[in-house]
């Protein structure tokens, strides 16, 4: 695979991994985090520093990135997850920017705003593909379990969820930890591909872009989120001739979705083996078998 396509694949998969986690949070509990770029940064810097300063091997660097992002997620979640949704969104926005500011403010430790160069390039096409599939499967499994039902209950009616003994706060903590862990993983994979990171890569625009992906894809559809993540990663390539037009096109797409498909592009549609089989049957001429159980 040429460098160009590997790069495209890595950026796309990084988007998908963050989106899968953010989808779990937004689609699951109704909470929106506007600070996920900060957690990408935590993952990128954790693994970047562990592998360059302490010479940890890449897999341990990734693990460290996931674990540390989750820990920060739990620490941030503890005071914020009890807030009303609006305040949670605001608080996470502040957290994202604070993380970025902190990285810039510690030049001796992180390289500051100059950035951290020389991160070993370890993220291959296969590694990133494998971890993307694993991330999607984990999120899907979570949503298909009793924890997924609890999350949906919380999103729909927190009071009623409490009345059936759902520990709302604990469930939110688990989900936010997973969301942040996946963001951290994505950040680390990115760092080990581009080999150089600086705080400006993880700014507020990036966080907003990630939230937009989930909303465009549809709050009831992981398939939609993944598709939108791919779209947003590929869009700059399609629009390379006019980088300035990128945000214009984003805004236009978001507007059109809000107006014509308020439930997101995919609504509640979820790709499954059954739906794939149905599509396959349609494509192959619809030879239907009756009565087969």
């Amino acid at each position: 695979m040429s460098d160009y396509y590997t790069g495209l694949l890595v950026f796309t998969c990084v988007n998908i991994i963050v989106t899968a986690g953010l989808y779990l949070l937004i689609g699951g509990t109704g909470l929106v985090s506007f600070g996920q770029a900060g957690f990408l940064a935590i993952g990128a810097y954790t693994s970047g520093l562990l592998t360059t300063r302490l010479n940890w091997p890449f897999p341990l660097g990734l693990t460290g990135a996931i674990v540390f992002s989750m820990l920060v997620g739990v620490a941030i979640g503890y005071p914020t997850l009890k807030l009303r949704r609006e305040y949670f969104a605001l608080a996470t926005m502040g957290v994202g920017e604070a993380i970025r500011a902190l990285i810039s403010a510690l030049p001796n430790f992180t390289g500051g705003s100059v950035g951290l160069p020389g991160i070993p390039q370890k993220t291959t096409a296969w590694v990133v593909l494998l971890l993307t599939v694993v991330s999607i499967v984990l999120v899907r499994n979570y949503l298909k379990s009793k924890f997924g039902r609890n999350a949906l209950a919380i999103k729909t009616d927190e009071l009623a969820a409490k009345a059936i003994a759902v520990n709302v706060f604990a469930q939110k903590q688990i989900i936010f930890a997973i969301t942040c862990g996946l963001s951290g993983l994505a950040g680390a994979l990115l760092a080990h591909y581009i080999t150089y990171i600086d705080p400006s890569m993880f700014d507020w625009n990036r966080s907003a872009e990630l939230v937009t992906i989930v909303f465009v894809g549809g709050l009831g559809s992981l398939t939609g989120g993944v598709t939108a993540a791919i779209g947003v990663a590929l869009l700059p390539e399609v629009l390379r001739f006019a980088n300035e037009a990128r945000f214009l096109v984003y805004s236009l797409v978001v507007l059109l979705v809000i107006i014509y498909r308020p439930g997101g592009l995919f609504g509640n549609y979820e790709l499954s083996w059954q739906s794939l089989a149905r599509i396959w049957r349609k494509l192959t001429g619809g030879a239907r078998k009756e009565g087969a159980a």
Partner: protein, 262 residues
């Protein structure tokens, strides 16, 4: 599924003040163990607030809530529910968009024996546990006579069925006591009669201690062994319905207001 004897449940001297308003004032009630206890009273008397205090949605300013002698006062709502207090809401609160079956299945989470790691990896255990959940959910739906509606969306149901579903959801938790806040509100006379039969059969089959807030006197008359009348946050009378209805304080309260809820 049935219990030999219903759970003992009582609360003492419950008090709740909102700003300057004493919404619940020194309320003491001992429920009929394994029976049905009614709470009546005009609008704003503080009945729902009592339920919200029991189930932990409001913190009492004073008083004590005891389930089988266990002190539940001041605990979190989910802890109180886990301790065995099931409830419905005056304004039905279903999980909109979920199917009837899933509404009930959600309430079974505590009895499903697997953790987050099992769930993320979808270990084989999940399949058998989820199968068990489905069976238990169907059992709860059968109890309220809603098996055929299991695939429908909760919010698409007629009002009467939504109320039944809310009861089934509470029952799925296998509670020790059940709080019903105006279960007959908004129902037509035929539906009220069905509901009376339903509550009676649940009480008989499960031996469940039930507290019910109601304005429909015929429902209270046919179900409740003991009734408490509330007015302006206080219990003004307690006893059989006949005793309560003839109590001077109750007559005074109802006639004084010139309105009755027949």
């Amino acid at each position: 599924m049935s219990q030999a004897t219903g759970a003992r449940f009582e609360f003492h001297n419950l008090t709740k003040v909102f700003g300057g308003l004493v919404a619940v004032n020194d309320v003491t009630v001992e429920a009929v163990a394994g029976g049905i206890t009614g709470i009546i009273g005009s609008n704003g008397a503080g009945k729902s607030t009592v339920f919200n205090l029991i189930s932990g949605f409001y913190k009492p300013d004073a008083g004590q809530v005891l389930l089988e002698g266990q002190d539940l006062t001041g605990r979190q709502p989910h802890e109180i529910a886990a301790a065995g207090v099931g409830r419905t809401f005056q304004n039905i609160r279903l999980f909109q968009g979920m199917s009837v079956l899933d509404n009930v299945r959600t309430a079974l989470h505590r009895s499903l024996d697997y953790n987050v790691f099992h769930a993320l990896l979808r270990l084989p255990k999940i399949r058998s546990e989820e199968k068990r959940a489905e069976e238990a959910a169907l059992e709860a739906l059968e109890l309220v006579g809603m098996l055929e509606a299991k695939e429908l969306t909760g919010s698409s149901l007629p009002y009467g069925l939504q109320r039944r579903l809310e009861i089934a959801r509470a029952l799925a938790m296998k509670p020790k006591i059940l709080l019903l806040d105006e279960p007959a509100a908004g129902l037509n006379p035929g539906e009220v009669a069905d509901l009376v039969n339903l509550i009676r059969s649940i009480n008989a089959k499960l031996g469940l201690t039930i507290l019910v807030i109601e304005h429909h006197m015929d429902l209270v008359a046919s179900l409740c062994q003991k009734v408490f009348a509330m007015n302006f946050g206080q219990v003004i009378a307690g006893g059989t319905l006949a005793e309560v209805q003839n109590d001077p304080a109750v007559l005074e309260a109802y006639l004084g207001k010139g309105a009755s809820h027949a």
